[in-house]
């Protein structure tokens, strides 16, 4: 039974691969030329079930398994010391491309790429300069800009959740870092573009990675911001954002989610929209490039233009959001995509915190 299953897994991809030529690199580390595409993913120590990057990367791998007949593996390290070991295990067994999920893999991918020059590697959210590494980075500021436009306009509209009397919105970041600043800066710029006299409350949960898993502090900050009049609050704070959703539900104001469509993962909270960071798409398309022989090293940047970053649908609030807001978002998106508008990546560009 198991053998049959394995055979099926091997045969299908071979049929796919043989039709596609390729530059031969796909089989460089395999034991024979009929090897299946075997992509590997090493999550960070957060592991699967994080409703974040690790799950998204795993989803991307599953999509590739389904659509491309790839036969993938996901490994979960227990400590950062396992990163190198896990990458080696996959590379040694002929897996490729091998992904490290998150910038914490920078050192480990750099070393593994040197050790296995014939294996293709991928890294999310970081840049590793090597001839066999593709660096998948995201322009989070672009989606954040759009969501800023939504927040800046919605705070001026009267709804069950917003009060036009206070033109105040909020941003809750996780760990203070350049990466999270990109979310906050783009958001603030978007808000000010449609509401120059709006006040953007801006706060980080903390300075350690703990800041991404502290819903208690997240809810405190959200509550505090709401008491100062913020009626739309965007977060880029991982699980700390759950605190925001709780408070938004209790005190009836809009929350904006991040990475995945958080309206679906928090159906009871008033999640207006979410900035989608399509790590899954990035992983799938990299695997696809491998099967087609179009894999290439270097930086692959994902933004609004290639759907690596997108705004989630307004869902149950679709009827609450005025048509003018939707038009403004579409306009801003168009400007960013055609290059006439560049979203800010640092707070310094938007007048500081």
């Amino acid at each position: 039974m198991k053998a049959l299953h394995l055979a099926a897994l091997l045969v299908v991809p071979v049929m796919v691969v043989t039709g596609c030529g390729g530059d031969g690199s796909a089989t460089a580390t395999g034991t024979n030329s009929q090897v299946a595409i075997k992509p590997g993913v090493v999550t960070d120590i957060g592991g699967l079930g994080d409703h974040g990057f690790n799950d998204l990367a795993s989803t991307g791998l599953k999509v590739a398994e389904k659509n491309l007949g790839a036969e993938g593996r996901v490994l979960v390290p227990q400590t950062p010391a396992d990163y190198a070991n896990n990458l080696n295990q996959l590379a040694q067994s002929g897996f490729q491309p091998v992904f490290g999920i998150g910038f914490t893999f920078t050192d480990a991918i750099t070393a593994a790429a040197k050790q296995f020059p014939n294996t293709h590697f991928g890294i999310i959210d970081s840049v590793v300069e090597a001839p066999n590494v593709t660096s998948l980075v995201f322009r989070e500021e672009e989606g954040s800009y759009l969501t800023g436009v939504v927040a800046g306009l919605m705070t001026q509209v009267k709804t069950d959740y917003t009060n036009p009397a206070d033109k105040v919105v909020g941003f809750i970041g996780g760990q203070e870092s350049p990466l999270i600043e990109k979310f906050g800066a783009g958001y603030k710029q978007g808000v000010l573009s449609v509401c120059p006299d709006c006040q953007v409350l801006y706060q980080y949960v903390g300075t350690t990675t703990q800041a991404f898993s502290d819903p208690g502090t997240g809810s405190e900050i959200a509550s505090n911001m709401h008491s100062k009049g913020a009626d739309v609050i965007y977060h880029a704070a991982g699980a700390s954002g759950d605190g925001l959703f709780k408070v938004a539900q209790d005190q009836k104001f809009f929350a904006i989610g991040v990475n995945v469509d958080q309206a679906q993962t928090n159906p009871n909270a008033p999640v207006l929209t979410s900035v989608l960071k399509r790590v899954d798409t990035a992983v799938t398309s990299t695997i696809e490039a491998q099967t087609k022989g179009t894999w290439k090293a270097g930086v692959q940047s994902f933004g609004l233009s290639n759907q690596g970053i997108a705004l989630a649908p307004f869902g149950k609030f679709d009827s609450v959001v005025p048509e003018s807001v939707k038009t403004a978002v579409a306009d801003a998106q168009q400007k960013i995509v055609d290059g006439s508008l560049k979203a800010a990546t640092t707070l310094a560009e938007v007048g500081g915190k």
Partner: protein
């Protein structure tokens, strides 16, 4: 003590942790069987990942290196009657000091790593001694202060790494230590294993000698076993307390410095955490003896490297290893409790359980 009696005691000391490991493997087998995986296949893979090749042994040794030291950090303080839960903070302090010194101090090889390690140990020791001093001066309970210091040190360390020590590269954290300050790899195919292992082994010897062959160690142990006796001996139990935590912290600091100079080369944000807490398990497994901690660290290190292999070969979640470690510690704790309720509180305990 005669050699034979000593041997008997060592064997007795080994029996309990060995039984705990064996029992946990049995429990793990049950869990695996329930989740439809052959325990035999899985355990062969575990063994292969832990010891099956020079590389595997290297990974086990690499994992064990910091664990041995954080284990000693707990065991050393425990001999002075104190619970050192501050291993994580002391580890981070040592790592941060090494991250700074590793980049800043330009010293010849050999002297470089030794000096940087010493600074790391000193930093960890100071954090430990601070908790000890709070105990000595104000009677603040060390369990509370060491845990609180973990947070303080972690946040302080993060701030230092993001600001004054930042390398301003895309990975937040310090710059790489100068090559002359790095701990060399052991080599010989032992992937990942670095000379920090020698530091850990030396640490175990030094800690044992200090505890059992010096007047300072004697005072410390008497303070732990019988504080009033220690006072009659003229020892200040409070000073001994500060020294016990300071001494313990030194080993955790060495662990942190060793990871920076050996495994990682620099200190990133985030950096490894929870090695300090795992040290409690190592110390329990090692019966609070520094040499026992070597064995305890090796066991946990082997479980960890073997677990990764098990995950790769059989597809079992690596979390199963956490479960195994948890079960090991549970059994060791139960045995320890039974022993502690042995001679001194034997009667009360027997009465409590209805006599035996």
């Amino acid at each position: 003590m005669t050699p034979r009696a000593w041997r008997a005691q060592v064997l007795r000391g080994l029996a309990a942790p060995a039984a705990a490991v064996a029992l946990s493997l049995v429990a793990g087998a049950v869990i695996m069987a329930l989740s439809g995986v052959s325990p035999a296949v899985a355990y062969v893979s575990l063994l292969r990942g832990a010891l099956g090749s020079p590389e595997a042994i290297g990974r086990t040794l690499q994992n064990a290196t910091p664990l041995i030291l954080t284990g000693i950090a707990v065991a050393f303080a425990f001999r002075g009657g104190l619970f050192n839960i501050g291993g994580d903070g002391q580890f981070a302090a040592g790592a941060t000091a090494a991250a700074w010194a590793g980049v800043t101090l330009s010293l010849p090889p050999v002297i470089g790593p030794v000096a940087v390690l010493a600074l790391g140990g000193l930093a960890g020791g100071l954090v430990g001694a601070l908790a000890g001093a709070l105990k000595a001066r104000f009677g603040a309970h060390e369990v509370v202060t060491t845990i609180m210091l973990n947070f303080i040190v972690a946040d302080l360390s993060t701030w230092l790494l993001l600001h004054p020590l930042s390398a301003h590269s895309q990975v937040p954290g310090s710059d790489f230590a100068l090559p002359s300050n790095r701990l060399p790899m052991i080599g010989g195919g032992l992937a990942g294993a670095h000379l920090g292992l020698v530091v850990a082994l030396a640490g175990a010897v030094v800690a044992s000698v200090v505890l059992w062959r010096t007047p300072y160690g004697m005072e410390l142990r008497v303070s732990g076993l019988a504080p009033r006796t220690a006072r009659y001996m003229g020892a200040s139990p409070t000073v001994a307390a500060a020294a016990a935590l300071g001494g313990g912290g030194l080993f955790a600091g060495l662990a942190g410095a060793g990871e920076v100079l050996g495994t990682y080369g620099h200190m990133t944000v985030p950096f490894v955490t929870s090695l300090g807490y795992l040290g409690i398990g190592v110390a329990l497994l090692g019966r609070n003896h520094p040499v026992g901690c070597v064995a305890g660290g090796l066991v946990l290190g082997a479980l960890s490297s073997g677990g990764q292999q098990m995950q790769f070969d059989v597809g079992i979640s690596a979390h199963l290893i956490d479960v195994l470690v948890g079960i090991v510690l549970l059994f060791v704790t139960v045995q320890t409790l039974r022993r502690r309720t042995g001679p001194r509180r034997a009667r009360a305990a027997r009465l409590a359980v209805g006599g035996r």
